[in-house]
Amino acid sequence: MTDGKIEHEVVCGAPNIEVGQIVPFAPLGATLRDMKTGGSWTLTAAKIRGVESRGMLCATDELGVGDDHSGIWVLPSGTPLGAALEKVYPADDVIFHVEVTGNRPDCMSVFGTAREAAAVVPKAKLQQQKVVPPKMQGTEVPLTVKVAESRLCPRYQAVVIDGVRVGPSPLWLQQRLISAGNRPINNVVDITNYIRLEYGNPLHVFDYRALAGNAIVVRRAKAGEKLTALDEKTYPLAVTDLVIADAKKPVAIAGVMGGQDSAATAATTTIVYEVANFDPVAVRKTSRRLALLSESSLLFEKGLPPQATDAALRRALELTLQICGGHIVSPVYDVKRPLPRPKTVPFDPVQITRTLGVTVARAAAKTMLQRLGFVVAGAKTWRVTPPWWRSDVLAAHDVVEEVSRLYGYHRLPAQLPAGRIPVRQPDILLGLQTRIRDWLIGQGFTEIQSYSLVSGKLLELIGLPTAVALRVANPLSAEFEYLRPTLSASLLSVAGQNIKRFARQRLFELANIYHPKSGGLPDELPMLALAMTDRTDDFFAAKGVVEMMLLQLGVRGLRFVPDAAGINEFWQPRAQISVGSTTIGRLGPVTPQVLERFGIRQPLILCGLDLTALVPLAHPVLEYRQIPSFPVSEQDLAAVLDAKISWQQFRSAIVGIHPLVRQVTFLSAYRDAKLPPGKKSIACRIEFRADDRTLSSGEVDGILGKVKEKLQQQFAATIR
């Protein structure tokens, strides 16, 4: 390569490099932008494929003027050789980043933003550029334009230009494209992109000679048709896709991307511009289905007005003749349905005050609307007609928003709603959850929150078939595939993940589980799961926590029933937790083989409580019981009896025996070698108390005698 004076040997692997191009050159010692770090680096000589490269040809990103790295930046043919780039390329530009909301495609262009700004900024005026309507010159070339799906393509404009010289665009055009994040390709393509940015309506350019039969047909794709698009990928088309076709085959996916075979290249001399309007839903569906997003599809799917094609086409012709030369050799084809007329909205200006809570003067509101291009007619109530580019304005509340926006939300006073405060029953479940949480945290438990979405693998670890869980149709990954039908798996997983650092853990989670329901929404069942693990078995500690918690919550008549039926590979529940005939939960150790799968090699007690069942039972009852005026007499009693007799049976036998027996408290239970085989020893403390007198020792002894007698009779117990 040469800089006009000296020849340099440079190795360049860019795909777009060709002999005769004028390109940016960084000599040795130049400072370039580091794309990875955003910093800079200094160019030194380097051996590439055995050849020493003394300098570098640059892409726009390496120079810090753009973000394109797909090829070397090709400068237009008139660019002086050896000149400093900053002399020929005006880089000191101001770039505004404007976030346009999805409902305002009319602002997604330089002109649209200017039009909006002119309405919003006080005293601003909009200057429209004058574009001279194009005239046909020279001999007309044949072209037929047919729209078979006019609902999906309400307007299609096309025009043929002959004698164009395709090549790099002038630098001012390249600079504007680069500043807007586009990559210059060649002048005719650049013009389509530039006008899309300027006017907000996408354009497409075809090589006229590539259109078989000199025909353009807008139709749906036929079964089996394919198209290789400009991104060099081949897309299989569905019969629902709208395409632009020539007499034989599709040449573009309507509104999404053109085909490679009909693209304008350096060899092209005759071009066809397409400026069309496509149905937003059709474009969006095709673009989503093919996973092919383009600047064009992103605009079309917002819904563009068919009126917008005219100005864009005129501008395209103007720029083309100016930049690429050539002459117009066809009429401007314009196949369209009747243009939609903006809907006139009846509008009572009172609605502005009603919505905003402040009064906006009618005259001021009217001016705001007029600045936005709305036509306002009528006196007391108005008839408001939005301009054609505002198809998002459909009803009175849309008109209110326009006035609000221009009035300025920052001018609204901050007021709290004045009306009546609704008084409702507080949500009982939320209250219960709060009480449970507070109580457990007070007992030293740590609350966890884990994802409701779990993996099938996690469910398998606790022996649950994934069929019992709701599957997500489009999971993010296998890790989040099922809505959990249990909290246990998550809790075990958390315990296991922490076990190396925390041998003693007290964990709980309050969350919903999900059970599929055929035909309806799944049941979302609020649960409490708690886990206690330590090096030694914590069953009675866990039972104590659950028991005291439920008692504190106001649950009465609580029973722990041996639960032989629940034993399985996963756990060996020692108890079903019941109130009356309702089972509200389970408590027991997880089997060592399951714990092992979570890396836990010590006992872990798990408890699950069904909060739906608990809600009606957990009444926080405030009840006063008279403080006893007379003393309690306590007697301890130990009995040896059949080991199968439960504490509950033993206790029940004593409790009902006499009204003066007030309390029977567990002291101990044990079996050992000194006892006869099959026997155990139970010890308890019995409290005797009368409300109206101090009990004499004779009275107490009498009752105690009856207790002993009953125990002997009922359980063949030996009193010790």
């Binding site: 949500d427 929404l521 979302e524």
Partner: protein
């Protein structure tokens, strides 16, 4: 025996009174009450030799004497002051088990309390709901591109002929029409629930919480919305913080706005004292979330007459607000749901 006990008591009390410091007192204590050869212990060694009746009364008296001496010792010790006691107060206390509330629960509790103070009641709605409530009833009919903005999870099951697919609600806004359908006006609710979106990175989790405010009543205006959000921002973030409102677009509100709060790190200037760009906000403001006046179509979907009633709604991320407030500088939002006890037990 009883006489000897009385004598011992008198002697001991006199010695206690004469002690001049804690060390002397300790000496007296050992001399009289010491376990091995304290005078009381030695005297009581003779007890078993006595007849039963005497043994009982002497035992009782011995207890009284012992208690009296201890009381005197303690009284006297108290007059010497703490410094002279041999209690090492720097030794660690016996730690009770301390529980920990999850950070997200702390945030939810705080948000709930703030809204309860202005008459909002917390409500609950489905996490898995019909497409109808998540989208269509919110003025987003099928095929509406706005539906794409939420990276929505769907349940793998046959859709309902009218209500559509089952979605993992991508926002709490499904609660709006659900709440209206209960036909209890006026409404002043804050619905806090789990939401789901198909995204995961340092600032996104596939499951997160939103809090959704909804007020529907006669005469509700945008000024009420501004007032409520301003109140919340000041109550939650601090009375000196400021909010900024930008026009925005949501399908289910009209007008729609987004709310920013001035950055606490740089004081809303976008620049730190040393002239560097503020890394938290870059421009002085942080985005809180969206809000707006309930769209008439949404009111209609909830069978509420938009001619008579109006309302406002907002739905913001709990985690996002909390992390912005707390200045915890948690580097990765996913830490909230990893349940590392080393993390959870810090709070």
């Amino acid at each position: 025996m009883e006489q000897a006990l009385q004598q011992l008591r008198q002697d001991a009390e006199a010695r206690v009174a004469a002690a001049r410091d804690a060390a002397a007192l300790r000496q007296v204590e050992i001399e009289y009450l010491g376990r091995g050869d304290g005078k009381l212990t030695v005297l009581l060694a003779g007890l078993p030799g006595l007849p039963l009746e005497q043994r009982k009364s002497a035992g009782q008296l011995a207890n009284e004497v012992k208690a009296a001496i201890i009381t005197r010792l303690n009284e006297r010790r108290a007059t010497f002051g703490q410094a002279e006691s041999d209690l090492d107060v720097t030794q660690p206390g016996i730690a009770p088990q301390v529980g920990h509330r999850h950070l997200v629960t702390q945030a939810i509790d705080e948000i709930t309390a703030i809204f309860e103070r202005i008459g909002f009641q917390r409500s609950r709605h489905s996490e898995v709901d019909w497409e109808h409530y998540a989208f269509a009833a919110l003025n987003m009919p099928a095929d509406h591109p706005a539906r794409d903005e939420w990276e929505t999870f769907f349940v793998d099951a046959e859709p309902h002929s009218k209500l559509g697919r089952r979605v993992l609600t991508p926002h709490t806004s499904n609660g709006q029409v659900r709440e209206m359908e209960q036909r209890r006006l006026p409404i002043r609710m804050v619905n806090i629930g789990k939401c789901y979106r198909r995204q995961i990175d340092v600032s996104h989790v596939p499951m997160f919480y939103q809090f959704e405010g909804l007020v529907v009543d006669e005469g509700i205006t945008m000024a009420h919305l501004v007032g409520t959000l301003d109140y919340f921002a000041k109550a939650f973030f601090g009375p000196d913080r400021k909010i900024r409102i930008r026009p925005y677009h949501f399908q289910f509100t009209e007008p729609s706005i987004e709310i920013d709060i001035n950055c606490a790190v740089c004081g809303g200037r976008g620049q730190l004292a040393d002239g560097k760009i503020c890394r938290l906000c870059k421009q002085g403001w942080l985005e809180l979330g969206g809000a707006g006046m309930v769209h008439p179509n949404v009111l209609k979907a909830g069978k509420v007459d938009p001619k008579k009633y109006s309302g406002f709604a907002f739905g913001w991320g709990v985690e996002r607000c909390f992390l912005m407030k707390s200045g915890l500088q948690i580097p990765d939002i996913r830490m909230l749901y990893e349940n590392d006890l080393r993390f959870l037990q810090q709070f």
